[in-house]
């Protein structure tokens, strides 16, 4: 055994290292939040409330303009993707958890395996694959809808669903699995069928489902890589007609990326404003999910 003095010195050195690591973990986060709030707020208030409605000003001019098209694009993408993706993931989770017959159990097991694989997939790969799929299908879709392009709101929605559905599925399924067997049996013993039972159990799991929804919402809002070749991005408002689904749209995250890398001072400022709005949205959803979980 080493002398006590040596052990104490070693202990103190390690303690210093641990504190440094702790400080180095928190410092960048604080700097990021501080910079985004400071830079973003000053831009937002320079053109308030126009920042939420205008299109970006000409690059290099002294005006900033706004990020209206990107805000609208994000709202359209996320609303559609949530409307389609939520029922699919929750129903799939219900089916997996309540499967009885052997083919049902196998289907559930396969869904579980594949979606769990999908959770940690790089989202750029998903985006690229959706783009590849859409270009392959484009000639056939064009026969029905002449204006269709692979870079479109529709592709963006599909990519977002693929990115976030596995998460929601996994969370709801874990929740359903964690319900004690006697509760499930009690519901069945009242003579409820599987459909009614699933409904009752989902209501029992209300807070898990709400938390899953708000986390998926946050993931969709913050997704960038999957939208590069699907929604593609646009700095102008899309015309609101029947072809809306088949045209490229902007999104807040794509705005941060392209405007931030553009090198024009006023566009970089818009990029900070978009970052600030994204940060606030994530903060709101984060707070909401905490409240929902605590409200259980």
């Amino acid at each position: 055994m080493k002398p006590l003095m040596l052990r104490k010195i070693r202990s103190l050195t390690m303690l210093a290292l641990i504190s440094t690591a702790f400080a180095l973990t928190l410092l960048p986060v604080l700097s990021l939040i501080g910079t985004v709030v400071y830079n973003g707020m000053s831009v937002v208030f320079r053109n308030f409330p126009g920042i939420f409605f205008d299109i970006p000003a000409a690059p290099g001019s002294s005006e900033v303009g706004g990020i209206g098209p990107h805000l609208l694009g994000t709202m359209l993408l996320v609303a559609l993707a949530m409307a389609i993706g939520t029922p699919i993931s929750i129903l799939a989770a219900v089916f997996t958890a309540e499967a009885i017959k052997s083919w049902e159990r196998n289907l559930g097991r396969l869904t579980r395996l594949l979606t769990h694989m999908m959770i940690e997939f790089p989202t750029i790969v998903v985006g690229l694959a959706v783009y590849g799929l859409m270009t392959t299908l484009a000639p056939y879709i064009r026969a029905l809808i002449p204006g269709f392009r692979p870079f479109s709101l529709l592709s963006g929605v599909i990519a977002l669903i693929m990115v976030s559905a596995p998460y929601m599925y996994a969370q709801v399924e874990d929740g359903l699995k964690s319900i004690p067997q006697h509760i499930r049996e009690a519901v069945y013993s009242l003579g409820a069928g599987r459909v009614l039972t699933s409904y009752v159990l989902l209501r029992y799991l209300k807070s898990t489902v709400y938390a899953a929804i708000s986390i998926s919402l946050a993931r969709m809002i913050s997704e960038t890589a999957a939208l590069f070749f699907t929604a593609f991005g646009s700095n102008v408002y899309p015309p609101l007609d029947s072809n809306l689904l088949f045209r490229p749209v902007g999104s807040l995250t794509l705005a941060v990326y392209t405007l931030g890398l553009s090198g024009y001072e006023n566009w970089v400022e818009l990029s900070w404003a978009a970052s600030f709005i994204l940060l606030m949205l994530c903060l709101a959803l984060f707070a909401l999910s905490k409240v929902v979980i605590r409200g259980e």
Partner: protein
């Protein structure tokens, strides 16, 4: 009658499962089919050569593959140090009333969009790293090993630091939760042996090595796949010496993001990019299998 028993109302729900399964299968299928033309032409050659010459239709993305592995590995080293350190600090030293603040801050950090990290990395982190770390080190004579930084400060090194900052909150949360879950009788037994605080912590870390492995694998997967933030700070320059980390370079994901707009102009370029995505798909699959076999559920 038999058919009715087989198909109750609940069966319709299986449609949702089929959609999920179909989407995963389609993603894999499209990646394979779209990369077949270049696999048929060049085989595994693009993986081991570093040429990017669309005019001559020659594609080898070793520089991007190397860039990805170097950034992710460096990021992993930094983030392991940071996440173990901060998790230990949280679980062993931090007073209870600070815990709520720190925990919420870290959880929030994990949910901030990566592209926001990218903008911060480009405008704040890159200049700081260039002035205080990269330039002094290359002045010291390391420049023949690590290269010289560019004026903007974007480099493979910057990307790995940014990645480390981005994955640390999640990795730290995994280790922290497990550290807090160590039964108190084990901790008390260790202290009763007369060990110092740090010796106890070392043993505790050995006790939870499975969680540390999980955190490692999850971080590595995130770091390899991350696109938006990396594409903003890695420099996007074809750099054949990807191991000289202070120089700007490419990773596979930033190569796809940056080069794809040009891809339609050349026949094989699109397929080459799909091929590189397929490689990333397999890397991610391998990490998933490791997680499934040795890791624990996050």
């Amino acid at each position: 009658m038999r058919i009715r028993r087989f198909l109750d109302v609940f069966t319709i729900v299986s449609l949702a499962n089929s959609i999920l399964i179909l989407s995963v299968v389609l993603v894999s299928l499209v990646l394979v089919v779209e990369s077949l033309p270049i696999i048929a032409r060049d085989g595994l050659l693009p993986l081991v050569t570093s040429i990017w010459n669309p005019v001559k239709e020659e594609y080898g993305f070793l520089f991007a593959l190397g860039g990805s592995l170097v950034t992710a590995s460096l990021a992993l080293v930094f983030s392991l140090a940071l996440s173990i350190g901060s998790a230990v600090m949280y679980a062993e030293f931090l007073p209870r009333r600070f815990r709520v603040i720190v925990k919420n801050l870290m959880d929030l950090a994990a949910s901030i969009p990566s592209v926001v990290y990218g903008l911060w990395g480009l405008k704040v982190l890159s200049p700081v790293l260039r002035t205080y770390i990269m330039e002094p080190l290359s002045e010291l004579g390391l420049s023949q090993f690590v290269g010289r930084p560019t004026p903007a400060g974007t480099s493979i090194f910057t990307a790995s630091i940014l990645l480390a900052i981005m994955v640390t909150p999640l990795a730290s949360a995994i280790i922290r939760e497990r550290l807090l879950a160590i039964p108190s009788h084990i901790r008390e037994a260790l202290y009763s042996l007369g060990l110092t605080k740090v010796e106890v912590i070392t043993l505790e870390l050995k006790y939870i090595k499975r969680s540390i492995l999980t955190a490692t694998a999850v971080s590595y997967g995130r770091a390899v796949g991350e696109t938006a933030a990396v594409a903003m700070v890695v420099g996007n320059v074809i750099n054949l010496e990807f191991f000289k980390v202070f120089k700007p370079g490419y990773t596979i994901s930033s190569l796809i993001a940056d080069q794809y707009p040009n891809a339609e102009a050349y026949y094989f370029m699109k397929h080459a990019l799909f091929y590189s995505a397929l490689v990333m798909f397999f890397v991610s699959l391998a990490i998933n299998i490791v997680l499934l076999k040795f890791g624990e559920r996050v």
